[in-house]
């Protein structure tokens, strides 16, 4: 396989191609929209063509990205599929793309989830389809760009690029309180990212290249930044806020339940499966390696770990009392992402690897949960748990899949949820026993809220008349869940390939933090001309 890809020079063009295909697709979709009559008829031929076109674009994207699994050498310390072009030479900004084991898995997750997200809105999204698909496509470019960028300014642009399409998806195609939820989402994220912009500029200006121009290249800054102790802390704080809002960590999480609940199914799936990963990815790629001194500084680490553990427990407890199933899943995300943060900041190779697996597992399981919630919402137009009960009798396939996915989200051994949380707890117990003990209680809470909800939705007696004739899942829905179920079981039983791919990156990260301290060197300076 690898030889075949080499003959295609796959590594030379794959990353820019993955970014450009959705962009070109968005343009194509909008052009199609201008040329075809506006219609809301779901079975109109032009609407069908449009859906197929978009699905085809995402499938091509997914198939192309699959080659990365073989072509990327994750044991190497060099960036893979490296691509570098000048962008704004005067300011030292370049278009630099490259991946390692961590971003490889997240890119594959993204390209896998996107076609499923399109399928999920196959019939439920009726209005302004062209714009909806264009938003999804642009969003894809932004998300993939975040995982690939190795230039800090490019990273920032990609980071913000995601924001507007998601804002529009929530605000235009969302539920009742969509205006409120979309604005909250936007303002929170922007509030987080703006200080990061200042920090990025500061880093770039203080790390001039040999020609005394500013440089925003990740590698360059990583190796040449000379920061004073207090500057390190301030810069870390700026990056921390940006990523903590996105993760989201308690107490920056309040945008998440609103955004998840009001977003259309595709939006919730993308938010949960991919966009929350941006935050943790940001820590692993940027905040931690760039400022190892700050991360190694005990008060900072204690602070972050405390927030992470509060998030784990708080998310689980709040999820338990939610009457709304979608909100329950949303709060469970807060809890799960807390595990990821715990794993990263516990700083042992095991815990970091565990964090990466939880990251991935959460993307798969929670994505599947949101898809299932969306499917039942389409049939019954209610998300309240009390409106259901006993639907296992009328929807056996749905009930089976929901049970399986819930178990994986709880972290039952044999599913993807188990291995990651186990590694995080074991790994963090070595370095941070107290936090690990508190966090482990959340595993029990997770079982409590999900099983209890499961009982009330699919098991109790079937009493409500509206529920007696709900149709079971159709082939499209089963088909779109199938890859996720496969991933859940595969990761649960045989996680070794995934662990192998992240080992090198995790080891390097931990090593970098362990060997550094808050330095007090004087920074040098370049002027932007």
């Amino acid at each position: 396989m690898n030889d075949f890809l080499t003959t295609l020079h796959y590594n030379d063009w794959i990353l820019p191609a993955l970014l450009l295909i959705p962009m070109a697709g968005a343009v194509a979709v909008l052009l199609h929209g201008r040329m075809s009559p506006q219609t809301s008829e779901p079975n109109d031929p032009s609407t069908r063509t449009l859906r197929r076109l978009v699905f085809a674009i995402f499938s091509v994207e997914a198939l192309l990205s699959l080659g990365l699994w073989w072509s990327v050498d994750t044991t190497s310390t060099a960036w893979q599929a490296y691509f570098s072009r000048p962008w704004i030479p005067q300011w030292g900004m370049r278009i630099i793309l490259g991946i390692d084991g961590v971003s490889l898995l997240l890119i594959l997750l993204t390209t896998l989830i996107m076609p499923l997200a399109v399928l999920s809105g196959w019939t439920s999204v009726k209005e302004k389809l062209h714009s909806y698909f264009a938003c999804l496509l642009v969003l894809t470019t932004g998300m993939l760009g975040v995982f690939m960028s190795l230039d800090l300014m490019l990273f920032f642009v990609m980071w913000e690029l995601m924001l507007v399409p998601m804002y529009l998806i929530i605000g235009i195609w969302g539920g009742q309180r969509r205006l409120y939820a979309s604005l909250k989402f936007f303002i929170y994220t922007m509030f987080g990212s703006m200080p990061m912009l200042v920090a990025i500029l500061y880093l770039g200006l203080r790390t001039p290249d040999p020609f005394n121009r500013p440089s925003f290249s990740y590698d360059w800054i990583l190796n040449h930044a000379q920061l004073t102790g207090s500057a390190t802390l301030w810069l870390f704080a700026a990056f921390f806020i940006a990523f903590a809002v996105k993760v989201p960590m308690w107490p920056f999480h309040t945008w998440l339940p609103d955004a998840h609940v009001e977003a259309p199914t595709a939006g919730s799936v993308i938010l949960a499966s991919i966009m929350l990963k941006m935050g943790t990815f940001g820590f692993i790629r940027f905040a931690v390696p760039l400022f190892p001194g700050a991360v190694g500084y005990p008060p900072v680490r204690f602070f972050v770990l405390t927030l992470a553990v509060i998030g784990i427990v708080y998310g689980a407890l709040v999820a338990m009392v939610q009457p709304d199933f979608k909100k329950l899943v949303a709060y469970s995300s807060v809890s799960h992402m807390g595990f990821v943060m715990l794993g990263i900041f516990a700083m042992s190779v095991q815990s970091v690897q565990g964090a990466l697996i939880v990251n991935l597992a959460h993307g798969v399981s929670t994505g599947a949960l949101f898809l299932l919630v969306g499917m039942i919402y389409e049939r019954r137009h209610s998300r309240l748990i009390e409106d259901y009960g006993g639907i296992a009798k009328v929807m056996p396939v749905f009930a089976t899949i929901l049970t399986l996915v819930s178990l994986s989200s709880i972290g039952v051994p044999g599913t993807n949820g188990f291995i990651g949380e186990f590694l995080v707890l074991v790994g963090s117990f070595r370095t941070q026993p107290l936090f690990a003990i508190v966090a482990s209680t959340a595993v029990i809470f997770a079982a409590a809220y999900l099983l209890w909800a499961l009982q009330r939705i699919i098991y109790n007696p079937l009493t409500k008349a509206e529920n007696k004739h709900l149709p079971d899942l159709n082939w499209r829905e089963i088909g779109l869940l199938a890859p996720l179920i496969f991933a859940i079981i595969w990761l649960g039983i045989y996680p070794a390939p995934v662990l192998d791919k992240t080992r090198e990156a995790a080891t390097r990260l931990v090593h970098r933090v362990e060997t550094s301290s808050l330095s007090t060197g004087l920074g040098s300076n370049a002027e932007i001309h």
Partner: protein
């Protein structure tokens, strides 16, 4: 070529673009007075004005590219001047293009309105060229008097008249500050020429002389009035709301740009060394402008008032570039003004279309569901709002404009401007509250029943919209070329004359 400004013919040559514009304006003024006011006549004079502006623009670009310089004198011949001129002319083109169609609809048939824009523009060009405080004053007055009249151009509207009167009174008041400041600086240094002032301050160590410092303070107040910086901004919302919409756009973009261009040159050529005196006041004015302007803008329900406060906010951002005051400060300023002018004209073009005759339908709620009936207008407005917000890709140039100002300020290590940059970005988060409000009502709300279809977009207005949106987006993807232009257009001190004059 290096002009010797003491020779009248060379001085004339150095002023050629300005003179062409003025001559054209005078001829057109006669043409305007030739026939009674009518729609056709207004249109004719408007098209004539566009022609004169295009001619001047070509001349300015030619001058800008031919690497000119000048010896000591009352005017400057450098890239900065011509770059600023090009920006003013761009704004004037937009204002007249919008104005021709707007005036037709509002039945403002005085053809002089277009000519007054030309006069205002020539005043601005003189301001950008001025290397003498008297010339600065001359330019400011030439611009201001034309704009006072323009603000009150719609004689049927009481709000227009109120705005114009307010603008005139406060403008005259601020001119007093400016003039008094100039007088004190003259008293302290013995000159009104920027180069001479700088040399005298250095040679006679006048830096701590109180008369000079008070003079600089008064000059600062005068400029702060002109750029509508807090606490000297009171006039702006009323004037912007009352003035005919194309003129509001012109004021928000060009008048401010001219004031800032002069501000920048005076500060850089005269007072760069005195930053111990002016840095803190400018710091605080910038901070107050950003904070207050944003908070006040949040409360606005009228689009024009909202844009007026937004223009105040952008003055605050530009003051950060002034405070940075370095080489990159002026480049950042030029880039910023270009992005801002484009976004402002795009937004006001939509406002022109949406405000049906009599300046109605200017509430933000009148934009509800615009995307569903007129997607083009909504997208144009959306892009311009995001550009003013400084958002990457979708807001295009606006993002790099903000980055440029931030970078200029952060690079200036000795003035401790990093806190100001943090304030700037946090203020821009607040500004998302009102810019997104517009995006949100346009895209996310349904069109209310019985809401009237907005008027058809005229060809000139459409041209303004398309040009601004396309340029904003292009500059957001590949800004390198514009950055190069902005960096080449630096204010340069006068050169010594290489060839000595024959006696």
């Amino acid at each position: 070529m290096n002009f010797d400004l003491s020779i009248p013919t060379q001085l004339m040559q150095a002023l050629a673009p300005d003179l062409v514009l003025m001559a054209g304006a005078m001829v057109l003024m006669l043409v305007a007075a030739w026939r009674p006011d009518s729609e056709q006549h207004q249109r004719l004079v408007g098209c004539g004005s566009l022609g004169v502006l295009v001619l001047t623009l070509a001349l300015v670009i030619w001058f800008g590219q031919s690497n000119l310089s000048s010896g000591p004198g009352v005017i400057a011949v450098d890239g900065f001047r011509f770059a600023a001129d090009a920006l003013f002319i761009l704004a004037a083109l937009g204002a007249i293009a919008l104005g021709i169609e707007y005036n037709g609809r509002e039945r403002i048939w005085s053809a002089e309105s277009h000519v007054l824009v030309l006069f205002a523009t020539s005043g601005m060009m003189i301001m950008a060229a001025a290397r003498d405080l008297m010339i600065v004053f001359l330019g400011i007055e030439m611009m201001s008097i034309a704009v006072y009249v323009l603000a009150g151009m719609n004689r049927r509207s009481t709000r227009s008249a109120e705005g114009a009167l307010k603008y005139f009174l406060l403008g005259a008041f601020s001119t007093g500050f400016l003039l008094y400041g100039i007088a004190l600086i003259y008293g302290a240094t013995g000159s009104t020429n920027l180069t001479t002032i700088f040399e005298h301050i250095k040679a006679y160590q006048l830096a701590h002389q109180s008369m000079l410092l008070v003079g600089i303070g008064l000059l600062l107040v005068g400029f702060a009035f002109k750029v509508a910086a807090v606490p000297f901004h009171m006039w702006a919302p009323d004037v912007y709301e009352g003035a005919p919409t194309p003129i509001t756009a012109f004021m928000a973009a060009a008048v401010k740009a001219a004031a800032f261009a002069t501000f920048l040159r005076v500060w850089r050529e005269c007072f760069d060394l005195l930053d111990f005196a002016w840095l803190m006041p400018v710091w605080w004015i910038a901070a107050a402008t950003m904070v207050f302007g944003n908070v006040a803008a949040l409360a606005q329900r009228n689009v024009k008032r909202m844009l007026a406060y937004s223009s105040i906010v952008h003055s605050g951002y530009l003051l950060v570039a002034i405070a940075a005051g370095t080489f990159s400060g002026s480049a950042a300023f030029l880039f910023y003004i270009l992005a801002y002018t484009l976004a402002t004209f795009g937004a006001f073009a939509v406002v022109c279309v949406m405000s049906r005759s009599g300046e109605r339908d200017l509430e933000i709620s009148d934009y509800d569901g615009l995307w569903r009936v007129r997607p083009g207008l909504a997208v144009c407005m959306g892009v311009c709002m995001l550009a003013l917000l400084g958002f990457p890709v979708f807001g295009g140039a606006g993002f790099f404009a903000k980055v440029y100002v931030l970078a200029a300020a952060e690079a200036q290590t000795f003035r401790h401007l990093v806190p100001l940059t943090v304030l700037l970005v946090l203020a821009s988060v607040v500004s998302a509250g009102y810019y997104l409000q517009v995006v949100r009502v346009m895209f996310m709300k349904p069109r209310p029943d019985g809401a009237q279809e907005p008027a058809a977009t005229g060809p000139l207005t459409r041209m303004v919209m398309v040009a601004s949106v396309v340029l904003v987006l292009l500059m957001g993807l590949a800004p390198a070329r514009v950055i190069r232009w902005a960096r080449e257009a630096q204010p340069t001190p006068p050169k010594a004359l290489s060839v000595t004059k024959a006696p």
